[in-house]
Each structure stands twice: as C-alpha cells, then as structure tokens.
Symmetry: C5
Subunit: 357 residues, 5 copies
C-alpha cells in the first residue's frame, strides 16, 4: 500500500538542507537522459556524471534533463551546485512523500507532484513523487524509478514538427503536467469500473469480501485525494503567475490542465459519495440476511416446539391418562398437532413472513 509518510524520522535534528534519501527503492542505478532540441534539431544523450551541466546555458535550445534514481546523493549535490539550487530545494527533492507544491526561486520554478500507478501485481494504487524544475531554457525532471510514461513525449519531440519543438521550456513543462493529469483519468476510469462492478455485485450477491474491497477503494480514494487536491492550487498559481518563465501563450494550455484537475477532484468526490452509499447498502444487506435467517429459525421453531410439547405430554407415563386408552386417541393427537401447525402458518402468513420476501 502507498505509505503516507516515508523515512521522515531519519532527518530529525539534522540541519536544514541535509541530503537524506527518504524513499524505499535503495538499489536503483542513476540514469540521466538529456534531450536538447530546437525547431531544427533534436539530440538525445545519456550521461554518467553532472560535470557537463553547464551546457544548459545555451539559450537557443531547450534542454530536458531527466534523472531516474535519487539515491546517488553525491551526483545530486553536484547537479544542485552547478544549477545553483538552494539546499532546501535539494532536501525537498529527496523527501519523496511530499504533497504537491510550487516554490518560486529567483532563476527557476520548483514544482512537485505525484504520479499515480496501478500496481497490477499487488493490486493496489502506488504513487511516486515527480520533481520538476523549470528554468528559462531547461526543464529538469527527477524521480525515483523509470517513468515509462515520458516515452510518449520523447517520441513526439523526436518526431518533428510538433508544437513542442517550436515552443520553449514552459510548454515542455506543460506537456509533462498534461500527461500526468491525463494519466489520472486513466486511473480514475479504472476505479470507476471497479466501483460499478462492485455495485452490481452488492445488489445481486453481497459477500463478506465485498466489504474488504470497499475499504480498499475508500483507502485508495483517500490517497488519490491527498495526491491531487493540492495540485489544483499549484496549477492555478502557475497559470496566474507573472513569472517571466511562463509565457502568456502557455497560459491557456495551463488553464486546460487546471480544468482537468478540477474534473479529477470532482470525480474523486463523486466516487467517495458512491462508496459511502455502497457501504450503507452492504451493511443493510447484512441486516436483511440476518432477518431472513432469524425468520427461518423462528418459523421452524415456533411450529415444532408446540408440537413436540404435545408429543411430550402423551409420552408421559402416568398410570391414569384417559386419552391414551381412547381408540382414536393417536389420530386425535395427530389432528391436534396439525391444527396447531395450521394456526401457526396462518399467523406467519398474516405477518407476511412466508413466501418470497
């Protein structure tokens, strides 16, 4: 399950800006991909150290630096120093359980948000932090593990005459944000289907396992909400920002992302409402089942208990029991029992306890 807090305890008492890796994927190798492009050209490289960071200064091209794996503190420190990143920002990058936020630094914007994955093997929702640094002519993305998600953007850039190649770093950043938010819809559609299946199941044949599923969904909704809700404010700030790093032409695209986030939040709230309603249905169907069980018990017991009593009476061994000597006594006793059973059945019929509920 997605942990809500990760490794914060390790940092207690350290000075601010101390670099401590707080995640739980300690063995990943560092993988750095650099994609430089302008309207004419597009070059992709993988590098092994951050010595060459200075080339980000070329104002003609847009550079996208993508860092996979955040365990290599020394490399990150180098990166931070050559880009002049504040120690607090570096600390934020390594705190992999942050809520989405936007910090404005003199030469760049720092944005953190959560990518969502549905982990098929363990069948639960996972989140991962994406750190995004937007400079005048570069975008840096830092995250813990492979983000295959970005491959579609990379191929769009390489494929040529798209808008991205003609626009600046801010539009590249928008493209990344848009992809991540679109991915939220994919996750939500999946949840929507699960919820509808569960709803169907609830009405037709509720089983105790349903409750555990409901609980898992509710918990996933808590994590989803926690991941998405603050992003609304982040994008809103970005859109309204007079920062020279965001061009006005990119503003309407960010507005579109903002609309999408609002719809994501709206949908999460609707799902939460539905899940609450489904819990009520489940609990009530459990009550109905108990009622039905009790009804069966009561009908059987209340019919046979008096009959058994009558049989018990005539099973007594008193010396003088006139009925026992009667020739038709046995049949009369059976008739008596039938009469009692009949009265009971009539009573239940009046109470509407018989037949299909």
């Amino acid at each position: 399950m997605a942990k809500i807090l990760k490794g914060r305890a390790k940092k207690l008492g350290l000075p601010p800006g101390s670099l401590v890796y707080a995640g739980d994927k300690p063995d990943r190798k560092l993988k750095v991909t650099i994609l430089e492009f302008d309207e004419q050209e597009c070059r992709e490289r993988e590098v092994s150290s951050f010595a060459e960071c200075l080339m980000l200064d070329n104002p003609q091209t847009v550079t996208w630096l993508n860092v996979d794996g955040l365990q290599h503190l020394e490399d990150l420190k180098n990166l931070g120093e050559c880009l002049n990143l504040h120690p607090l920002l570096m600390e934020d990058i390594l705190s992999t359980d942050q809520r989405p936020k936007l910090d404005e630094w003199p030469n760049h914007l720092y944005l953190t948000l959560r990518m969502l994955f549905y982990n098929e093997t363990s069948d639960h929702l996972d989140t991962e932090q994406l750190n995004l640094i937007i400079g005048s002519n570069y975008v840096i993305t830092l995250h813990e593990s492979d983000a295959d998600l970005f491959d579609t953007i990379r191929s769009r850039i390489k494929s040529g005459q798209t808008r991205i190649r003609k626009s600046g770093a801010d539009y590249l950043a928008y493209t990344i944000l848009d992809l991540i938010v679109d991915n939220y819809f994919v996750i939500l559609e999946r949840f929507g289907e699960t919820i509808e299946d569960l709803e169907e199941e609830l009405v037709t044949r509720p089983v105790p396992g349903t409750l555990a599923d409901l609980h898992k969904l509710k918990r996933d909704m808590i994590i989803l909400r926690k991941s998405v809700w603050p992003l609304r404010e982040v994008i809103s700030k970005l859109e309204r920002r007079e920062s020279p790093l965001i061009k006005e032409s990119t503003g309407i695209y960010l507005k579109d992302v903002y609309d999408h986030i609002i719809q994501v939040i709206d949908t999460i709230e609707s799902f939460r409402d539905m899940l609450s309603g489904m819990l009520d249905i489940y609990l009530s169907s459990v009550s109905n089942k108990l009622n039905e069980i009790m009804k069966v018990l009561t009908i059987i017991a209340t019919i046979f208990i008096p009959l058994t009593f009558v049989a018990g009476v005539y099973g007594m061994n008193f010396k003088y029991m006139p009925e026992l000597q009667w020739h038709y006594g046995y049949y009369m006793s059976l008739a008596l029992m039938a009469l009692i059973a009949g009265i009971m059945l009539l009573f239940f019929k009046k109470k509407k306890w018989l037949g299909r509920k």
Copy 2:
C-alpha cells in the same frame, strides 16, 4: 447508468488539441441545421458540409447553427477552422463528460453544460453534454444526439413577433440556457414525486427493494449535483461579464436563470437530506422487524420449553416415581404446566411484549 468518465484513456499521450471522439454513440449521422433570422425574416436550412460557414459573417441577422452528432471529426475540423476555433476548444467539444464551464476566447464565448434526460426505458437519469459557442451574431450548439428540446425554441422563433426575433445572439443563447434549466425543474419534480412515493411506502410497508430504490435515487442525486453545481458559477460569470458579446439588457434575464439554478441546487440539497433521513428510517424499520421476529420466537420458546421439560420429566422410565401412580397425577401435571404458562404470560405482559406494539 450515466457514466462519470467516458473514454478519457484514449487520449493519453496525444498532443493537446487532438480530436478524439470520447462518447458512446458512434453511429449517429451528422445533422446540421442553420436558422437565420432578423426582425423581418427567418430562414431554416439543413446543410451537409461546412463549406458555407462564412455566411455567419452577415452582421444583420442572427444565425443559430445546431450540430447533432459529434463523430464526424473531419467536418468538425472544417467548422473549427473556418470559425477560427482553438484546438483546445475543439478537444473540449469532443470530451463529452466535462463539468460545466465557461471559457472566454477573443471572438466568442465557449460554454459547456449538461442536459438531463430521464430515460424511461432503462428507468434512470441520463446526461448529455451541450456545447454552446456564442459569437457576436451567431450561436452554435453542438451535441451528440437529437435534442428535441430545442424544437420549442425553433417554433417560437419562426412564429414571429417574439422578443427573440428582435434581440441578438446573446438573447438566443439565454433562451437556450433558460430552456435547459427549466428542464432541470421537470426532472426535479419527477424526483420529488418518486421520493414522496418512496417515503409513503417506507412508513407503511418497507420492503428490501426500497433500499435499492433509495440507493438509485442517491446515486442520481450525485450525478445531478455534479451536473448542476458548477453551472452556478458559469452563469454568474456570464451575468457579471463585461464581454461585449453579452448586452446589458440580457443581463437581467441571465440573473433570472441564475436564480433558477440556485433554486435547483437548493432543491437537490433538500432531496439529499431527505434521502439520508429515509435511509435511517429504513434501517430502523429493519431493526424493528428483527425485534418483532425475535419477540415471537422468544414468547413461543420460553413458554413451551419449560412445559416440554415437565412432560419430559414425567416421561422418564424410573421404576419408582410416586407421582405417576397418583390418580390425578396427569391432571396435576397439566395444571402445573398451565401455571407455568400463565406465569410466563404475566411476565411478558409486564414487559409489554404482548399485543399490538
């Protein structure tokens, strides 16, 4: 049931403005109706292509272009180009699960809202997206299926000397909005009647099916609320707008629509409160029924179990059981049983378990 998200997954990774039809009515034919009118004249035509779009430029007349069926991407693309619509706007038109919103573009306003239908055959609430583009002298409405709703407006226009004929495109847009919001009231009145019937049923004879009905109503309320709530802000923005596209004289009409939406929202909230209360009543009536069942069982069992025991005692086969030899032993045992039953009945009477509750 109205799906909350539709086909968003298809668009993952596509560049912004990619035209993908996200709805679920793939086979509809495109049907385009053009209604041009001024105070003197009114002409209606159906067209088969968007080549003639330029005639919207005639500033003397108001043109209402109504498009049924959104699957014909090529035609829509032509329309978008000749009207100079932004690719993001075109994308919004095809995303048929959007929340109501208002976007202001340089030459027109784009407004999306949800039309509500009560689907009688499948007995549930359906919603459909209406896209509305308001220009200086034209209104374009785009939606997935036939909107018979609009026929009343069309005939009002054709019938002659009404206010619409004398007013501009903004008043026509108001008329459409007003019709859709008035239709919400029709849907709500229908729900109000269903809720009152259900309430009546709950108090007199609750059945398990009631719960499923309650759940369906609650779910419909979630969808209703999601469809109407954001519209409030949309109309409020429209009413306060200094946009030259909305004339001041239309403002008081929009204020009236706004008041209606507030009342719709108010009514939805009241219905939600009522439905919550009804769920409590239902659950409690289930509990009461269980209590009644248990009472019957307990009364029968606790009266007869001791009697059966007495009968069992005198059914034992011990050689020396003096009572068995007594001449009136049998009658005395019956009297003992009657006494026990009597005491039990008195006890239940004291507990007030007997009689009509």
Copy 3:
C-alpha cells in the same frame, strides 16, 4: 406536506415572463385591499379592478396594496402594466415555490419570502410565498391565500399615533418583515416544545411511532431551513442597501430583523443537532430492547435445554438401564437437574445477566 417544487413543469418552453399560475389553490377569489394613510388620515377600501392603480402616485400618503389570490392572471397583468413591473418580476410572483430573494428594479424593490404556518388539521408545517414590492410611497403585498397575520398591522395603522403613520413605505415594509420573522419564532417555540416532549418520551418509553415523529420533525426542519436561510442574505442586502427607497432611519430596524433571523437560523441548527442525537438514542434503545429479549430467551433456553436432555435420557427404553431400577433414581435425577439449573444460574449471575439491568 409542503411541496418543495410546484408546477414548474407547466412552464417548460414558454417565453420568459409568461404568466402561469403555479400554485395549488385554484379556486380562491381575488381580494384587493387598499390602505392609504398619512400622519393625519387613514382610508381603507376594497377594489374589484386595477383600473385605479394610478392613485399610487400621490406622494403625500403611503399606500399599502394587499392582493389575496394569484389565480387571476388578467388582473395581475393590468396591475403589472400600470405599475410598470417587468415581465420576469410578474413571472416570479406567480412561481409560488421560490427561495427568498431580493431584486432591485429601477423604481422599486422586489422581495420574496416565505410565510410559515402550522396546519393544525393535517398536523404539519405549511409555507406560503409572500411577494413584497416596495416603492417610494407604496408597498404591495401579493400572496395566495388570506393572511390574517396582517390584521394586527392594519389595526396598528388605523389606531393612530404610532410610528408607522409617521414613517414612509420602507418602515411599513419593515413592519411586515418583522411580523413574519416574529411569526417564525412562534413556529420554532412550538417545535421546541414538540422536541422536548419527544425527548422525554424517548428516554422513558420509546415506541416505534417515535421514529416516524422524529422523521417528520427532521423533514420540517429541512423545509424551515430552506425557507429561512436565504432570507438572511436578503435582509442583509436590504439593510446595507444605498437604495433611496430605504431611509437610513429604517436601517437600524432592519438590523434588528437581521439579528432575529440569525437567531432563527441558529435555533434551527440546534434543533437539527438535537434531532440527530435523538435518532441515535432511539436506535440504541431498540438495540437494547433486542438484547433484553435475547437475554430472556437465552436464560430460559440454556437452563431448560440441558434439563430436558436429562429427562430425555431417562425416558429412553433400553432394556438394561441400571439407574432406572434404583430406588432413589428419580430423586437423584431431579437433584441432578437442580444442580445443572443452579450452575447455569450462577453462570448468568457472573455475567450479570440477571436482575435489573
């Protein structure tokens, strides 16, 4: 029960300002009372047509025009025309299920609010819409049925040297508002007493009927809240209004009405909280009752079932059962039963199931 929406469906597709009577009291006769007064004089008349409406122009006197019965569309149309009322305002007057609101028109203020009645015969809360038009020297009140409530104001005006006679139309409007809000308190005190009675009943002897009463009260609270909550904003706007129609000296009186409305809302919220608490109490007392029933059943059954088993054993017909031949076998079996019963009773005593709970 007070309907939440009335006859909205009838208006679907009609042009704005169409006059359709939406209420449910179709047979009332129109009754128009005109009360003209200044500091010296006071004249009351009943009229049968609206031809003489022009006399409202006399700036020296204050005129109160009270209209009972809103089914007479022709008369209302005449009134609207001679007072120059906007068609949308006329439509609002006839939509008898509106939420309270204040509209400012060039020459008058239009205010709609809800009068509350406790209908003794059907034992439920009823609401009726009061339409109030405040002009420079006249007040018009329009409603569906007799408002006997206004008689007290009328007699205060006629009785002479009161503040109303010396003040203008705005003070008369305040007097009407104040009366209606004071009437809310009367309704609330009545509810307060009902709630306290019910609370008393709940603790001492809960009956299933209690739940229906609770539900009725909760529903009435929903209607009350819906009727009063928006009025807060209406009066607040009125009080802060720079409209020349409201004199500053009337402001402090309106502030007083505002304080009263806040207290009404506060009280409704407290009642809602109390009713929620009472529902919990009721449900819990039902559970307790079930527990008690089950305890009785369990005690009786678990004592006698083993005893009956012992009797059953010695009622078996095996040829060789030594105990049956013993001289004191019978008494020993009775002693065994007494022992079993005793152990059971001790067990129940330890569990604290016996005695007063």
Copy 4:
C-alpha cells in the same frame, strides 16, 4: 434544561420596542447597585428608583450600575429614557434568550452575552443573559438574577490600588468580560472531568444509563456552543473597534479575552468529537454483548439439541428396536451422545467461540 427560546410568542404583532419581559423568573425583586470610583475614592450604594440616573454624567469618576431583575418594566423604562437608550435596545434587554451580539449606538456600546451556570440541584447546564452597556464613563450590567460572580470584581475595586481604579469604563467592561469567559473554563473543566469519567466507565462496564448521560452531555455541548460561538465575533469586533469608547490600552486585554474564547471554542469542538467517538464505542459494546449472549445460546443449544434427539429416538415405543435389547445399548447410546458433544466442542474451538473472548 436550558430552554433555547423563551416567550417569543408573546411579542407577536406588537410594535418594535414594546417592552415585554420574556424570561421565566417573574418574582424577583429589582435590586440596583451603584458603584462609583476614581483613583482616590470608591462609593457603593443601593438605590430604589432611577430618578438619580443623571449623576452618571460626572466625567471624573467611573460608575458601574448593576441591575438585578428585569421584571420591573416601569423602572427600566425610566432608566432607558434618562440614558437615552433606543427602544430596540430596551427590547433586546428584555429578550432573555438572545445570541451574543454587539450593537454600536451613538453614545454607547450594547453588548449581550451569556453567563453559564452549572445547576447542581437539577444537574444540568443553565445559561443567563448578561446585558452590558458601555458608555464613556459608565458601565451598566443588567441581568435576571443575582450574579454572585461579580462580587470578586467589586471587592477588587474596593480593595484599592488595582489597575481597575486607575483605568476607565472600558477596562471595567473588560474585567467583567474576562470574568465571564474565565467562568466558561470552569464549566468546561467540569465537563472534561465528566467526559473522562464516562469514558472510563464505557470501557470497563457500559450500562444503559451511560447512553442517557452521553446524550445529556451532547445536548449541553450544543447549548454551550450556541452560547459561546457568536461571542468570538463580538469580542473581535470590540477589539478592532475604533470606537472612542474603547481605549487602545484596553485593546491588548481584549485580545487576551479573544484568545481565551478561541480556546473555549476549540475545547468544545474537541469535546464534541470525543462524545461522538464514545457513542460509537457504546453502540459497539452493545453489539458485542448481543454477540456474546447469542454465542452462549448457540453453544448450549447446538450441543444439547442433537443429544436430545438421540435420547428421543431411543425413547420411541416401536415394538422392534434391536438396539434397545442390546445389553450395552444404554452405554453405547451415552457414548454416542458424548461423541456428538465432543465433535461440537471441537467445532466451536475451531471457530474460537470458547474461552475468554
């Protein structure tokens, strides 16, 4: 129990400013205490009429006029006239169920708040309205019954060189407010202890009476909240007020009172949260008890019912039942019963129904 509304119905239809006593302590005598002091002197008197009210004009001294008992309408009217109090203000003083508010009049501030008492004899919370009028050099307190609370302030004033003697009327008003708010803490500490006792009781030995206690506490919290919540805004307005009646040096003291009220509100909310949690615990412990009862019944019944059946079979009177003739038939039947009982016990052990839960 503290009534939420008192005697509002009596005032229906009366003109604004009509003096009607709305409280429920009709027999109290009027008691007026005047305390005049400056830095040098301090004089206390009791007066029997309001003829001498004019002496409040002495600008050198601070006068505290305390009025016990609000039934003497004639006296209050005199007081109101000589102090030039507005009829609406006089009406507010007599409406003893008001929510806290602050009204600014030209020459004085009118403040109403609620004093809380824990009535030991009837064991519930009581509230009483305190009316406070702050003038340039006088403070008037009006309330229904003896406020012994004020004795500590009076003795602090008389005792000499305290801050109150040196400061003006505003500081005296602060002192009164501070005392009342401090008294809230006393009430809250008392509730805190009751809640902790109840919590202890809930976990160790829940009894049905617990529920009634919980309900009483919840109800008291509703009243407390209603009494304190609006006071926050009142004090905040008073603190920020530029009114010349409140000196700047008194501001920081009022800020302190404000902080206390925030803490009172915070504490009430925490208590409410705790009480909700306790209700859940109680309801759940009732369910657990039912489960335990049912478990006992089920264990006893399911063990003995099959055994009794076996005994019943061998108690049948068929002529030809071979087992009955067997020499060890009886012992074999007992062994069979023991076997059945053993299997049942193993089943229950597997289900973990035996032993300490």
Copy 5:
C-alpha cells in the same frame, strides 16, 4: 492521557496578569541554561538566579536562554521584569494548556506551541507547551520539563561553523521550530505504523480490544489536530511578518516549516479518514460474526427440531398406534427422519448457508 484543560479554574476572579502555575508537574527544580554565541565564540552556562539578565543586551552575540520548570513564580517574575515582559504574556507562559499562537509585542515576539511526546510507559500521547520569546539578539525558551530534544541543536551550535553560528536570533528560533515540527513527523510515522498494524489485524482477526485501540487512536488524533492546526496560522503570520525581528533570509526557511506543517495536518486528516473507515469495518465484522453464529444455530436447530418431534410422536404412549407394531416401523421412522434432514440440507444449500462463506 493528555488533559485538554489544566487548572484554569484556579484563576477565576484574579486580576489579569496574576501569576498562577496551571501545570501538573509541581516538584520540578528550576534549571536555567544560557548559551551565548557568535561566529567566533560559544559559551554555555547554568545560572541560579535572574539577576544577570541584563547581559542579553550585548548586540554582538546571540543568547539562548532556556528555562526548565515553571513553578518558580518569583524567578519568573524577576525575568519578566528585567526583560520588560507584559503581565499578560507572563500569565500566558504559565497557562500550560494554550493553543498555539503568536503575539507581537513592541520589542519581541511571543510564540507558544506544543511539543508532542509519545509516553512509552503509559502508552499514550503527551503534549507540553513550549513558550518561545524572540528578541533582536536573544531567544528565550520556557517549558515545564526537560526538553532533551534541544540537545541536538545545542551540539550543532557548539560544533562550530554551521549556519546557526553565522545567523541571528531569528534563525535560531527557526531551528527550534523546525526541530519541533520534524518531531511531529516522528510521532506521525509511529501512528502510521500502529494504524497499519491495526488495519491488518482488523481484516484477519478482529478482537474486541481492537475497538478500544481504535478509540485511543481517534482520541490521540483529536489532540494532535488541536495541537498542530493553529500552528499553521502562527507560522504563516511569522513568515509574512514585516517585523524587523525576522530577517528576510530566514523567510524561506520559515516557508519550509510552513510546508511541513501543512503536510502534518494533511496526514492527520488522512489518518482520521482511515480510522473512520476502520471503525465501519470493525462494526461490520461484528455483524458478520453474529450472522455466522446465527446461521450455525439455525442450521442445527431447524434440522433437529423436526427430527426430535418425529421421535417424540413415536414416543407417545397411546394404546393404539399401528406404526409401533409394524416390523420395520423403527427403520421407516429413521428413514423419515433422514428424509426430513435431507430436505433441510437441500434448502440450506439453496440459500448458500453451507460451506465456506
């Protein structure tokens, strides 16, 4: 358990600024540590009286005065006088149950917040008030008991060339705040683990003790929230403050603390949501258990009750019962019983009551 209010009752009626110790640790000795440092030097001393307080005036060095133990009113009074602290501020220091707040005084800022501890021996959350006074070149911390927490800061200061040594009093104050907020994360991680363990336990084997644990966690969340929520506003005010006491360079560090507090609050809310969900699961699992118990009882009882009746019938002692004489009567009766049992089992199978649920 952490008390919510402490000793407020003692102060009722005392003048403002009266020094009364409201805590519950009466026996602690006073321990005062003074740490003076600048970039070159760092001196630590313990002092026994506050006579030497004047040395705080040295503008070249930063002085951190740490006071353990707040019972020594005379010493505190001396401290307050030599630092010119307002009596209300002194009173706040001794009110050890305050909600976090920030007061701005002419020469210093007063800040109170809550330190959280997890008391391992009594296994519950404890809070303690930290009072923080920030002057131009000094920071004073006052609290009731040893704060070992501060040792890490002290050793960082002593260890030499860290940022703290080069920065002013405001940065020292930030360091203290940061440490306390980081400690919140440690507490929250601990709660996170407890919640996950409990969740695991709930799903696999719910025991009644689980409920008590849930309740304890919910209660701790109430206290946590009460302690942290107001701190958000405090730090936000501090960060935005134009107070010359907070340098701009410290602002970005305070922003970082603010982000952390937001995350703490977010996490508390998520935990609260999860705990609610878990309570639902628990209650529902209790219901399921009852259902299972009832099912077992019902199956056993409804199978054997009719069988026992049949046995009872043939155990009757009527003289003329033909079946009894039949040679295979016994076997036929057994066959009849087997038939009845079989029908019952089929019925239960159809109801899906048999087998693994």
